[in-house]
């Protein structure tokens, strides 16, 4: 019976993200940046700029690490 009720927010998982799980790096990096910059910045004048900058940096570096690891596994490891 309960299974027929379908999706219940905050109780059942969002299975959409089983395929698109890597997109969750964006809200994760954003949330971490919001807290970190609130603690770290001496002044909060350019707070949101700093938050989006750090979010972008995290996503970009994770992307570069992913590409590097993919190249390593696909090209370097088979050649060894």
């Amino acid at each position: 019976m309960i299974a027929l009720l379908g999706f219940i927010p905050f109780v059942s998982p969002v299975n959409f993200f089983q395929t698109w799980w890597y997109l969750l790096i964006i809200p994760l990096a954003f949330g971490v940046s919001v807290i970190y910059k609130a603690i770290r910045l001496p002044r909060l004048d350019a707070y949101w700029f700093q938050v989006w900058l750090m979010t972008g940096q995290i996503v970009l570096v994770m992307l570069l690490i992913a590409v590097a690891l993919a190249l390593f596994v696909q090209l370097v490891v088979p050649a060894v």
Binding site: F17, Q18, L28, G31, V32, V34, I35, L44
Partner: protein, 149 residues
């Protein structure tokens, strides 16, 4: 609630605001007279918790099967114990067949756990920030617009 600036001594300890910071994210900074930082920390921690619960469902908070992750998660707020109790009650009241669609598996489950654990670990940084005044932190607070006004 606002602590006078004269109480801010480099190397001084503030266990009261630190306990508040654990009881509710950002409350420690609010108690130390840094409302802007307090609201931002509160928003960030609650954002991570809510996204984690939304993505992974209630099963992402489980002290039985994910004990180490739970220890990180509970640093965010004691409200995590409430999520754990709710999760346990739901699991106990539903049959295995009823429960099946609500159990997160794979990436969704892992990322839900990670989101709330990150909320806890980042809130731990906020707790340390209000617990102990480093010289840098004191200087930062003295120069902040909130303290100058």
């Amino acid at each position: 609630m606002k602590e006078p600036e004269s109480n801010r001594v480099p190397g001084s300890w503030h266990p009261g605001p630190a306990i508040l910071a654990w009881l509710w994210p950002g409350a420690g900074h609010l108690a130390r007279g840094e409302p802007q930082r307090g609201w931002l920390i509160m928003g960030g921690v609650l954002f991570l918790i809510l996204v984690g619960l939304f993505v992974g469902g209630l099963g992402v908070v489980d002290s039985e099967t994910q004990r180490l992750w739970f220890l990180a998660q509970v640093l965010s707020t004691p409200a995590i114990f409430g999520v754990e109790i709710a999760q346990t009650k739901i699991i106990q009241s539903w049959t295995a067949e009823e429960l099946l669609p609500y159990i997160g598996i794979g990436r969704v489950h892992e990322l839900g756990i990670l989101f709330i654990a990150m909320a806890g670990l980042m809130n731990f940084v906020a707790i340390l920030d209000v617990l102990y005044d480093l010289p840098r932190a004191t200087e930062r607070r003295a120069n902040s617009p909130e303290q100058q006004s």
